[in-house]
Symmetry: C2
Subunit: 169 residues, 2 copies
Amino acid sequence: MWPPRLSGDGSRPRAKREENHVSMRYLHTMVRIGNIEQSLDFYCAKLGMQEVRRVESEAGRYTLIFLAAPEDKAKAAAQRAPLLELTFNWDPEKYGEGRNFGHLAFEVDDIYQTCERLMKTGVTINRPPRDGRMAFVRSPDNISIELLQKGEAQAKKEPWSSMPNSGKW
Amino acid sequence: MWPPRLSGDGSRPRAKREENHVSMRYLHTMVRIGNIEQSLDFYCAKLGMQEVRRVESEAGRYTLIFLAAPEDKAKAAAQRAPLLELTFNWDPEKYGEGRNFGHLAFEVDDIYQTCERLMKTGVTINRPPRDGRMAFVRSPDNISIELLQKGEAQAKKEPWSSMPNSGKW
């Protein structure tokens, strides 16, 4: 049993596990945004997230906006919902993307309805839910967002099943 | 009351709010990893996260590993913990980073103890908790991780309060 296994699969010796025990919980994922209005239009008005907290720092010259998905916000007591933190730096920067970050994923009740609503407001569905289960869109700063049908995939149907991909995600 | 406010602050007219109502919840943040062993060593053995699910796709030539922070895993019923998804593509890629993604943040019971444990295992504390509250480290693929003291900041103390930054985060 030595060296200890590293995959957290419970096979490590007890003493080692105790030593490694930590109390730790997920708070948020932070992404940087180039424009507050465009980002709130995308994440809140179009995608449906809700603002839960805002911090403005004159000294640090930044604005932090914390968003929650509606179901998380409704169920979480005392601000324990997993959050998305939007950081807006008052001094403009260029926000390129990197492949080490993949995407943020959210579960939705109806993937078709969600994508239809997004399309109507001008959001490109980069990966349409051809399979009745999964779609990808991108934020104004090219953060990839995965939308997943809750539970089982829905039956395939048009116009989705034959809709081509658009760009990358 | 027109145009509707976009910040999700509840000031939008009722009709607009109803129309925009969506059921949606956060599932995970996905990051790509270049090496499974090194990543599990960092995220699980060192940081303390736990593996909750693994998917191997021979056809897609990828492995997906889902991790949860221990407190989230313990409290969440039926896999409803916010997760971190590690994607390992079997065909190697280069994983550069971009500024549009910021970091993942976790709350810990004792920021000093956490940083001491990480340092002992060879993890660089890029931003030491000089203020008794906040630290930053990086994953093997340069994903920035913020560690935040639960509740109030701890009293400042050495060696932390005079420890310099190291690299970027």
